[in-house]
Amino acid sequence: MRRSRRRGDDAQAVLETALVIPILLFLICNFVAVMVQVTVQEQLNAATALAAQSRFQAPENAVDPAGSRCCGVHGATLVTAGLPTGCRYAAESFYGTMTTYTGLLHWQTATLCTSGGDSGNAANPPAKPVAYPGSPANADVSCDIGSIKPGGAVVPGYVDRTLNPPSGLDVVTCSASASLDFANTPLAWGVFWTPTLHAQAEALPPPFRQ
């Protein structure tokens, strides 16, 4: 009688341990996954902000000559011939900064360079940006930027109507989206969600520029 009770206690202890250990590991895995997500989001924010800022390091009317290309960091080469040079600068800054955790990210590709977006207000309806002719559509970052063509024609960038209302300010916006996939990591054992990360940054033109 006593022996069977002890055997029952042992079985209960084993069962408790068998239940608790997977739950603990599950919690740990998800905690680490959240930490990784926070870290990658931080890096995505930094890369997007630097990309937007980089546009102003190029002269406003500079255009990439034939044969120009860039990046190729994530397996894709972006042909930038005929696009504003600031567009390539933005891509180079983005890919140069987004160097870690890339194996965990599935990028949502977009048009590298667009123009004419408008946040809109009561008098002006919001407008979606349109792609520059020839802009590659397989970029991991998309920037809405204005430029001045050699003939002097102004290509509008993104107009943010919340700044300097009601006419708004012509600014640069860059955005990037990617889903974070833990499938090829040990965390896949306990992490069953695939969060989508999104970053958008806006840069104002400096008071003095080339």
Binding site: V38, Q53, Q57, P65, G96, T99, Q210
Partner: protein, 208 residues
Amino acid sequence: MGGELEGVVRLRRMPRAPSGQAIVEFAVVLPLFLFCLIGALDAGLWAVQTSAETSAVEQAAMVASSAGSSPTSETAPDARAVMASISGRLRSALFGTAIKSWCATDANGGCAPDSTQHCPSTPAEVQAADGPRVVVVCVSEADPPACVTPPPGQVAPYPLGCGDSPMITVRVVGFVASLVPPGFGPGAGGFELPTNISATTHTLRFAP
């Protein structure tokens, strides 16, 4: 008297197995519990440190890219000046870790600007040079090729990219202090984890 005897008998009859079982259970569970607790703490610590490094290199890249944007500036930004702008942010997050700017050692053992701008690319390189739990802030500049007269059949500007502004890369690389004990982590000295965070941007450079 009879009561004392009863007590002795009761003590002898008390089963000893449960206390032994409790000790074994405790011995099994304690390492697991400590593993989970320390693992969670370390993951949180690592996330805080990495986030601080990421925002620091972003700020440093902006400082470095604007450092050369004056009509009189022609040289690459000084790593020490860049580090000074972010050292406060890094020090508050990387506790237990020494932070240095990457530069060549001069004849007096001081820190001279690294003329070759050879930045370490791996944490192991920093560990070999500076020891455990040290991160360095490294600033490097990639200058575009000089423009030359294009050969027949080619158009100016030649070669491609010769008119570009230089690219600045700020890197925080090394080993940061952590709770990973010796023999379990990638750090040879133990209680450290590798880090390698960088930010790249173009710099505005006025023509001299």
